[in-house]
Symmetry: C2
Subunit: 523 residues, 2 copies
């Protein structure tokens, strides 16, 4: 055998299907062990249910159930049921059985984005217990409920339909019910899952979530019926364009109308580009606005893409594809869950990075039922998803740790919690497990500005408390002498000491206590 | 329009190709900005070159070149050339132009595993500059050099061959040369890239790496010609089996021989399973060893997979598919790069998690050119890849921070560096960007044991230095009195004080200084 033969015989080149890739590398999607996999399964299902309700202005009702099938074998059953818009029956097999398949590949804020999460749960159930995933779904006004049992053909990345039934929709239900049987460690995942549900309730105060697991049953009832306006679907922003995207967009624009000019193309296809912006840009870039896009050469395309990226005078992306919670709802959520003495929230104006619009919301909560700790407790959210793992590499932790809290009258240990929430059509997650957010400079800056604002408000609150305490101390100190002074005045003037006492008390009250401010109301 | 129509019209279900998925989510693979993308491109190419050499017992010669194409537009050209085994010409388009395609999907320690890295670099070059990637390659003894220019059809996940040439291989070269033109920020990536090359040289002391970039030219020459033995290809370990894998393995075993018994199947297909182990397991699991595997039902398969996973008496996986560096080479590397005063290394015995064999190597380096800092400097490696990002969530950092360094006579700030290296057929990376390692308990434990061992050695070294210092102090203290005592003795005895002085000095030398030990040699 020659060296060449030997090498070729040793090397076997092949392609993997996406399902096989994630089957082999499941820890990348958060399915690294029976405890984490159970946590991840619950969150993927809950997040899909929340997307299926609030994106369509439905007040979410979500039932989460976990039961133990075999203690000894570590097998659990997870089910989640919602009152959402359901899934068109013919799409069910692919939505659950084909990696990288979904309806969320658009410019709009949603929890799901990768087309991966629920398939990973299906895959994990299949490989650990061999069980198919059960799905029941009904669209609004559907006369039937559709039921499927799905497995995944891993090497082909295709769904396998194990069974398929149709029932009458007697209760006029709409929504989706999913049930999986998987290897999972409930006792070790328990506290994380409960924390996850609690934080989800905080960030979606308009949702009712019922939770049932071995020995536990509780529900978070909605504290408000007000839903934030659902996000619209956005257009791409010129700042976020690369050569590939530009080619795609020109291709589809030409398919519609092949006489389109550069100026028309820019104003029709992109976000926040009006006639004036388009003309200024084209002048700066050195293009005639009347050039038909069909006439552009490849090298002109390259040049145009680069200039669109480098141009500094685009207007900010429009935030209508975002759906932040808003200061009021965020504070409602915090009061309901953390039960602090003081809370304050800031929703920043929309900003952008690399053509993606984003909004930062930061809230601070102090005292009450918040336990004292050595640094601020951080609750992170991204598109209303609570993030529980990998806090150490998250941009929010970085910002919080960089702040000198002494400036804000906070001395640790202190009962302080910080809530950060980023909404974007494109969250800069560090991994497909969706746990930590990268330190994109624009995001970092917005978080810092918002955090300093709420921290200043906390400082004012703490100052008021401090003053109030001082006042009380002075009042007590001065009051001690009232009796003695009254007696002395009584001796000098011959009048009743009771009179002086009464008048002096009144004077002290007026001079000192009126400075007191009400501090126990939550701002 | 009914509610249903409206919902359906708003939702568009579709599938993404793997190329499109990673094109949209490039930051997940480490391509988050022009600085990080340049760093990631260099490392993907260098790591492929190292795999193409040392896996085949070739001493690596690697040339890395970075040049600036346009300062203003942030465009750079990156090239890497090696003396490896090359790529079979017909495989070149897929290897560079099809995501999830490769030759490394086997049970063997290698740097590349995902079939993703170099395609991401190709994709990134294409979307930022529109340029194809240039590849030249020749197998050993090949009469020709094959040249390709490749782009990727993103929506189909297929290579586009832009050009394809064949040259005579006049210089009898073998290896691969890759050149990409991409948007990259050299000035901000510079220090990371240089640190990366330096650390690569540390962990591959048998490689020569030449590096040329704007204003910089240096090379790390190999400090040894000794290569660690290349890893063999392993079989799956029964502990790591899930139902899917078991089905696949039974399927291919049956294709060969459909009368195979359970006992034969176990001993032929799995790692570290001999007749005795197989019989013990089957007895425990309640199966007759003579059962033909073709007779197993689906529910028996499920049961068998679960029992294989839960059985506690398997032998450890064989480590022949691993290629650790070894204590000696690791210390060579550290001496060459960090130039410490003291260093010591431990290569642990093979261990395993979830059926994957792994070996932990830990070294400690002290003093010399290591700068003093407030906590140990950590240099992390996985399958000989330096890991530079996301240290905060890496298992090694966790172990190091959990150690009370006072126990080992280390007081910070101290000139202390710790090197950790994990070798495995399956590194538990936290993301496809290959930056941080998850805290798998078995891995954590091995790192801690190894670290405590080298820390104890450091303590012994530091104790020796301490004693030596004490001795010197005593010597100096006592020596001060020799003159006076000699004069006194001279007066008392009438003998020459010089004589006493000489004898006293000799005595002090013998009694005190002989305790001194040589400490400046590197252990």
């Amino acid at each position: 055998m020659t060296v060449l033969d030997e090498i070729l015989s040793r090397e076997e080149f092949r392609g993997l299907s996406p399902a096989e890739f994630f089957y082999r590398n499941r820890e990348i999607a958060g399915f690294s062990n029976p405890s984490r996999a159970l946590y991840q399964t619950v969150r993927e299902l809950v997040e899909n249910s929340l997307d299926a309700t609030e994106l369509y202005s439905i007040l979410p009702n979500i039932d989460v159930g976990i039961s133990i099938v075999s203690e000894e074998k570590n097998i659990v059953k997870v089910s989640v049921r919602d009152n959402g818009v359901g899934i068109p029956p013919k799409e069910v097999p692919n939505v659950f059985g084909k990696v990288f398949y979904g309806s969320k590949y658009k410019l709009r804020q949603s929890r799901g984005v990768f087309g991966l999460g629920v398939k990973m749960a299906v895959l994990y159930a299949q490989m650990t217990t061999g069980s198919p995933t059960l799905i029941r779904t009904a669209l609004p006004k559907s006369k039937n409920v559709y039921e499927y049992q799905i497995l995944i053909d891993i090497s082909k990345n295709q769904p396998i339909i194990v069974s398929n039934k149709v029932y009458k929709n007697k209760s006029k239900w709409h929504g989706t019910f999913v049930e999986l049987t998987l290897e999972g460690n409930w006792s070790s995942a328990r506290s994380r899952i409960m924390e996850y549900v609690k934080r989800t309730a905080l960030i979606t105060p308009y949702a009712t979530i019922r939770f049932k697991a071995p020995g536990i049953e509780f529900s978070f009832k909605r504290v408000t019926r007000k839903l934030p306006p659902p996000p619209g679907v956005g257009k791409p922003h010129p700042k976020g364009v690369d050569i590939e995207l530009l080619k795609q967009l020109i291709g589809s624009a030409l398919a519609n109308d092949n006489s389109l000019t550069l100026h028309e193309f820019l104003t029709q296809v992109f976000d926040s580009v009006g006639t004036k912006t388009a003309l200024s840009f084209l002048k700066w870039a050195g293009y005639d606005p009347r050039t038909p896009i069909s006439k552009l050469s490849i090298s002109q395309l390259d040049d145009l893409a680069r200039k669109m990226k480098n141009y500094t005078k685009w207007r900010r992306p429009k935030p209508h594809s975002l759906s932040p919670l808003g200061e009021e709802l965020l504070m409602e959520g915090i009061k309901g869950i953390l039960k602090p003495e003081f809370t304050s929230a800031v929703t920043r104006k929309p900003s952008s990075y690399g053509g993606h619009p984003f909004v930062i919301e930061v809230a601070i909560a102090w005292g009450g039922q918040i336990p004292a700790s050595d640094k601020p407790i951080l609750l992170r959210f991204a598109n209303k998803i609570p993030l529980l793992y990998d806090e150490g590499v998250d941009v929010s932790r970085k910002v919080i740790d960089s702040i000198d809290w002494n400036l804000y009258k906070v001395r640790f240990p202190a009962p302080l919690a910080v809530v950060t929430h980023i909404c974007s059509t494109k969250i800069p997650f560090k991994g497909v497990g969706k746990e930590a957010i990268a330190d994109v400079p624009e995001v970092e800056r917005e978080i810092e500005i918002a955090l300093r604002e709420v921290a200043r408000r906390l400082k004012r609150y703490l100052s008021r408390i401090e003053r109030q305490l001082e006042v009380k101390v002075r009042y007590v100190t001065i009051s001690k002498y009232i009796g003695e002074i009254s007696r002395a005045l009584s001796i000098i003037t011959g009048k009743d000491s009771k009179l002086f006492e009464k008048r002096l008390k009144l004077m002290v009250n007026q001079k000192i206590l009126r400075k007191e401010v009400k501090v126990h109301e939550t701002k």
